[in-house]
Symmetry: C2
Subunit: 612 residues, 2 copies
């Protein structure tokens, strides 16, 4: 039976036919790997995700975490599922062998983890947050910190969180107020409130390692305004002794749980640090250890941001993907209505997948979710190229491309896989609106993704305000060079599907030209804030262009294979690519018109003009 989480065939197509990740094994870091070891890791994940995570996904939604004023509790079914994940060694999937890891390339690790995102995003958050936390400490922590905190995370004894936002400081991190007061022994005592902390408390792990952004007061006890004063601290829920045993309870407590529309499997907390409920070592204040140097907290945090954002993008992709597969399955089995020309009501009804409008909705979903998966795996592959490509110029290019594509990898699936999830409901009709079918949960879970890890608006500003301009446009040029190469290959295509691919390439070329013209128009504008006011439609346009190119890339592979291996999988890829080229790419011009004209409609709008 086919999985309703993810298509193995599509994953293989992405990894081995398109991205050729088997070639990574030629690099020293991955030399002990082979396609077989990659496949084995993915198969392990597919099995654990299908057998452990998928069955509890609905339950985690129905039985929200509870807080009795003291402790947070999660459904009893969750803990063994996470244990299965940890026992398979997956927390360390990307870590080096010497850390007990599998030393998998990022692209394979993400392909592995996609299964869990699709099976139960609420359950998967706990290990994924832990992995992000561990990666950050691996890069910026001391050897002792790695030993004390990362190693227990690798085995699944400890879980990790990221504590950035505060009630008054969401997107605006420069306004955080949590204080970290330096102690005589070199440690710090933290005081403040942290909001939106996923996994901020739970009853699933022995300990919780909070990574906390806070400010160290200056000599006058004042906090430095802005982001420069931000430092990063490890604040464990329970202090860890020198012998790695657990010590006293630290002064960090849950003030409340957030009750969310979806994503309910993951606890989300308001945490109070240093309010004195616990008095470790005899006094109030959450004991923390500095990571790296004072004032470097944000840069350490943002060092991991590309991967974290690709992670969100992949989570969004997988919610869309599993929704698509559920809708496809439903459409194949639900009889309703008859085809045009066969309206005789005495004949049996046909499965709804035969109706053109249902095919439209499925094809749109396929185009969105498979495109988004391609983009996210492509980006993960760039992480690998940046880290391990033998040629320095390719390492640099990978980094530039990654910087440029990350806002798209995060925002595009968050938006368009939400549309996919909406279409999955629509395919189900009334049934899709009930909690008897899974698609309504996907739709609710998905809605978080344009908000966390940098809102949609933040991604847009990052793209138009920084990324397309960085290094005098070098990142953009790198992408354009890749696109131009794809277009050239498309133009040289022969055989079945060649004319379709050439038309697709033409649409990408047009979009590319329009994006470049638009950037030229706005570059020298005397009021850059007016240009940035239209960052959102630029993000839309650029995102669609990138996806149009990802689909061109996949179509090129499918078209070439089709000549030797005429099968339906490749035809489906070509058709989805064509859908994207014909139905989606024309939208680019509409978005760019606003940007190119430096339209001032939103800038000029005043508070008092909104409905009186």
């Amino acid at each position: 039976m086919q999985s309703l989480i993810l298509s193995r065939r599509d994953l293989e197509f992405n990894l081995y036919e398109w991205l050729q990740v088997q070639q990574l094994t030629e690099r020293e870091r991955y030399s002990e790997h082979s396609r077989e070891t990659f496949d084995a890791a993915m198969e392990t994940c597919a099995n654990i995700a299908s057998e452990e995570f998928y069955p509890i996904n609905r339950l985690l939604d129905d039985q929200e975490p509870r807080f009795d004023g003291e402790n947070v509790s999660t459904p009893a079914e969750l803990k063994p599922v996470l244990k299965a994940f940890c026992q398979a060694g997956l927390i360390a999937a990307g870590q080096p062998f010497e850390m007990g890891g599998m030393q998998l390339p990022c692209v394979v690790e993400k392909a592995c983890f996609a299964w869990f995102n699709g099976a139960s995003v609420g359950a998967a958050s706990y290990p994924f947050l832990t992995i992000g936390n561990a990666n950050l400490l691996m890069a910026h922590g001391s050897a002792e910190q790695i030993k004390r905190y990362v190693e227990p995370m690798m085995s699944g004894r400890f879980f990790g969180t990221m504590c950035l936002s505060e009630p008054q400081a969401g997107s605006s991190l420069s306004d955080i107020r949590t204080r970290a007061v330096r102690q005589a022994d070199g440690r710090y005592r933290l005081f403040g409130n942290k909001m939106w902390i996923s996994g901020g408390d739970q009853d699933l792990s022995e300990n919780i390692v909070h990574l906390v952004l806070a400010k160290v007061p200056d000599a006058n006890g004042e906090l430095i305004p802005g982001v420069k004063g931000i430092s990063l601290f490890i604040v464990p829920k329970v202090l860890v002794n020198a012998d790695a045993g657990l010590g006293a309870r630290n002064d960090v407590v849950v003030a409340g749980l957030n009750h969310k529309m979806g994503y309910r499997g993951t606890t989300n907390c308001l945490l109070n640090f240093g309010e004195g409920k616990f008095r470790p070592e005899g006094e109030a204040g959450a004991i923390g250890e500095l990571v790296g140097e004072e004032g470097q907290g944000l840069s350490a945090m943002f060092h991991m941001m590309n991967e974290a954002r690709i992670g969100v993008g992949l989570g969004a992709t997988m919610l869309g993907y599993t929704g698509y597969l559920h809708a496809l399955d439903y459409a194949r089995h639900r009889p309703q209505g008859r085809l045009p020309g066969g309206k005789d009501p005495s004949t049996p009804q046909v499965p709804i997948i035969r109706h053109a409008d249902v095919k439209r909705m499925l094809l749109a979903q396929k185009a969105y979710v498979e495109g988004a998966l391609g983009l996210n795996l492509f980006c993960a592959n760039l992480v690998d190229d940046h880290a391990t490509h033998p040629e320095e110029s390719r390492r640099d290019e990978a980094w530039l491309m990654l910087e440029l594509l990350t806002p798209i990898a995060k925002s595009w699936p968050s938006q368009w896989c939400q549309e996919a999830n909406s279409l999955a409901i629509q395919v189900h009709g009334g049934y899709g609106y009930t909690r008897d079918y899974r698609v309504e949960q996907f739709y609710r879970d998905q809605r978080l993704n344009p908000i966390h890890e940098g809102t949609h608006g933040i991604q847009a500003l990052d793209l138009l305000g920084r990324k397309v301009q960085m290094q005098r446009g070098a990142a953009l040029q790198a992408l354009i060079a890749r696109m131009t190469d794809s277009i050239a290959r498309a133009n040289a295509a022969q055989g079945e599907g060649a004319s379709q691919i050439r038309a697709h390439a033409l649409a990408v070329q047009h979009g590319q030209k329009q994006v470049l013209l638009t950037l030229q128009e706005v570059r020298a504008h005397p009021q850059p804030e007016l240009v940035l006011a239209n960052a959102a439609p630029f993000l839309e346009a650029f995102g669609h262009l990138v996806l149009g190119w990802i689909w061109l890339e996949q179509a090129l592979v499918a078209q070439a294979r089709l000549a030797h291996d005429p099968n339906d999988f490749y035809r489906g890829k070509l058709q989805a690519a064509q859908y994207f080229a014909r139905w989606e790419l024309p939208k680019i011009d509409a978005w760019l018109a606003v940007v190119a004209q430096v339209d001032d409609t939103t800038s000029v709008m005043q508070d008092g003009w909104f409905s009186a």
Copy 2:
């Protein structure tokens, strides 16, 4: 304090400055009315909606209706709220004086009811379904049926439902299997299952009047395939005696409740008719009375469909509208971040409404929801013109326009006010994703609207397959004539805002031309099913054109008023109109490209090509 449900000012603008509904009082049917009586009715509704409905909206979501296998129960807070509605005489708001009604024009009635849709769509459904039921019986029932069933509905003693769908027959009504067996006394016994019955059972009214579509078996006991054999029946939950007292329990029972993502205030049931649990008059079978003639059931039902669909459109509009007002209120009070050029982190944070991207999100919401309200009130006004305009040609024109615009009035708000609800969440950031704020409920409630009363796909087929072609395009010509008139008035505009309005008119003119060219392209296509396969993007394009025109109409009024009365309300209208013209109308070309080329991407797609 301003309402968070609906803007009184906007409602007045629509009714009195744009649609000039005060002129309706010159018609005989409304001659006892005046602007004062209209305003009084609306003010009553605003008060009851704000004081009774709005406060329980969240509660109705939290405390879903329950079914113990025997009875359905709703939260105790709901009944007195509905009582307040009924006691104000609002069920009969549109009925003639002699029925105890207020004899309000449809457009004023809809304006009144908008308050309840915005305050609590889940609570409002019960009286609105009852009104739809009563209207149908007023048009097609016998005098005795009106007396027996409609009068108790008018006073709120009985509530009504519509029973169309069955588990195997949702959009495909020709496949219903409920049997209505003629009895010797002229009544019928019904046997079958009805699905998705809103208000199908409840503990709120003394009785429930089900209007049921069923088929009368032929002489051989066979059901006639197709829609021609469908008849309409009154099936009360409790039989009504000749003396109007309640008699025996009829053989219709709840088989189960549907548990929905949203819209939870309204019960939604699977009903079993004639399974024998109750044996009225000694035997199994739900006793029903025929409405009108046998075989005329669907046409009676569809007679009311325009109004029902405008009702759904208005419900969708109001969910978007209240979400917008909540987001606006939040944005005015939430400080976060600083403006470009004022990034000094030691300065206070600004209310987020000052950020361009937040203004974009609010302006988009304003454009969607106020435009949708305008369209729905315009359509309600057409209902009045069709019924009571003194000139026959205008009555005919109104009917044509109504037929054409109904699919848009239903589908456009269902789609774009969902986008507005999504933006309302986005303006709230993480808070918008929690159940502590109301916007997440609106988003869940809204998702029903593209499904019920004819799915989005059904509306698209209705528009492209029937409405634009009806009477050799007469409906379309009527709309084009109106648009052309608006464009001419825009071109003659003088003074502040005139150039903006002319640009807007140009964009509408372009859209209109493209729509007509597209229809010309596809009209003679040898495979009409290929054309209809792209009905969905045509619906998008046509909907945006219509809304672009509605906004042009509103901008014309605002621009003219601005010359004499320079106030912010009119500036806001002009700015929202400009937003729609510049940001939204350019999308039309992208959708039409697919239609005009008779793109076969979805038609050609095959089941087996979807991911293998």
